[in-house]
Amino acid sequence: MIGLILSFGIGLGLLIFLLLVWRRSQSVSPEGSGQKLIDARHALQRLQTGLLPAEFVGRLFNHEDWDYVKSSAPTDVQKQFLRERKRISISWVRRVRTEVLELRRFHLGQSRFQEGLSLRTEIRVGLSFTSLLLSCRMLELFLWLRGPYAVSRALRSTTRAAEQVCAISGRSLAFLAARGFDALGKDSQRLRVTS
């Protein structure tokens, strides 16, 4: 019985992975290297400027707005406000997740060419990306279940996390963008000197 399960597990697993390779090959654009360059440049641009500014995030999760609406607006307006804030905050987390995905795509796109690639580093970076993406998913679920104003402590933490993610990603992307753009368009030797 163990043999049967093993054989079917490996055999069907192989078929599933082949199917995934085939699906991926259908979605890969057939353009040549020029298109790849443009894609890389666009990805970097999105990474650099795509994340929402910190003040917007602070405003999104700010209690003052909610306090004002709660004190001066009727119940249905309060409900609508909460609904809208919840929708916007979830959209924001999704946006952050998309940007992290772009960052991962960029990293993989570059690391596949590295002759000095380290398996340990790759696994570490891969785990970091995966856990951050999972955290985004959990935050999304948290916002969906309890809303941005459900618990004040969590809200503060969420705001802090939002600001931190923006700041951290911003720094990270600035580093990548500087390297990436220069590398895409300029002489690599000169870059090494300036860095």
Binding site: L4, S7, L14, F17, V21, G109, Q114, F129, M138, L191
Partner: protein, 256 residues
């Protein structure tokens, strides 16, 4: 009747693929694969002529099988080499993890053999050569899965030739693993069905190879960035630091 028709069609397809490789020059690009296919053609044709004499037939079969399995591993390595030829980083990743998988698998097999608790049922290998073949195919399948994972993870574009080789061999190996196990588990109840399934799958594999290897296909290679290449470790380390900090803040937000 059906199995003989499949056998004959298979022989013709193998001959056609080999002939076409001479015209397209693909035999120079995939020497191991075409050697493998040539050996399959020779053994199949030989078995066709001695099919009514049981002893020479089985001798032919059991001599050719180990050669095919050995060359099959060569084909897997050839697929890996051609799939990742322009991506040294991904190739290194696949090679190192391949060695790790290989070491783990064979350590596990050796340990289980020493403890006489072989989960792959290798213990009666001397009278179950089919099981032994299946076990070798399993290792082959694990390597093919590894190649598929690297191709998916690093978004590697495969050319039509390599893709065809991978799919053809993958489908055949997959069915070769599953059908003997069904035969062992359900005894001889569906004997004919299993045998036909394997034959039909092999024919499908030959069709995939014939289509994919009819002509040479080039793969566009994405440009690489020299500056980022030089700073791989630095880039990876900094990305990891940023992600670690971001993750800790997000986790705090969720847990509080």
């Amino acid at each position: 009747m059906l199995s003989k028709t499949i056998w004959l069609v298979g022989l013709l397809l193998e001959a056609a693929i080999l002939m076409q490789s001479l015209r397209s020059g693909l035999f120079r690009r995939f020497p191991v694969f075409y050697t493998y296919l040539f050996c399959v053609l020779v053994s199949s044709a030989g078995m066709w002529f001695v099919q009514k004499e049981p002893w020479p037939y089985f001798l032919f079969y059991w001599i050719s099988q180990p050669v095919m399995i050995f060359l099959g591993y060569g084909v897997v390595l050839e697929i890996m080499h051609h799939a990742l030829i322009h991506y040294p980083g991904a190739e290194r990743f696949a090679r190192v993890s391949g060695f790790l998988v290989f070491a783990i698998l064979f350590s596990a097999l050796a340990a289980s053999w020493l403890l006489a608790r072989n989960p792959f049922a290798l213990d009666p290998w001397y009278n179950h050569l089919e099981v032994l073949e299946r076990d070798f195919r399993m290792v082959q399948a694990i390597f093919l899965v590894l190649i598929a994972i690297v191709v998916i993870y690093y978004r590697i574009e495969l050319g039509k030739n390599v893709q065809g080789l991978l799919f053809g061999l993958g489908i055949y190996v997959s069915v070769s693993i599953m059908s003997p196990e069904l035969r062992l588990y359900f005894d001889t109840k569906f004997e004919t069905a299993y045998r036909e399934l394997q034959s039909v799958t092999y024919l499908a594999t030959l069709c995939i190879w014939a289509v994919a290897l009819w002509s040479t296909a080039e793969v566009p290679v994405p440009p690489r960035s020299a500056a980022i290449e030089a700073d791989y470790e630095r880039m990876a380390e900094r990305i990891r630091d940023r992600l670690r900090s971001a993750r800790s803040y997000l986790r705090k937000a969720v847990s509080e």
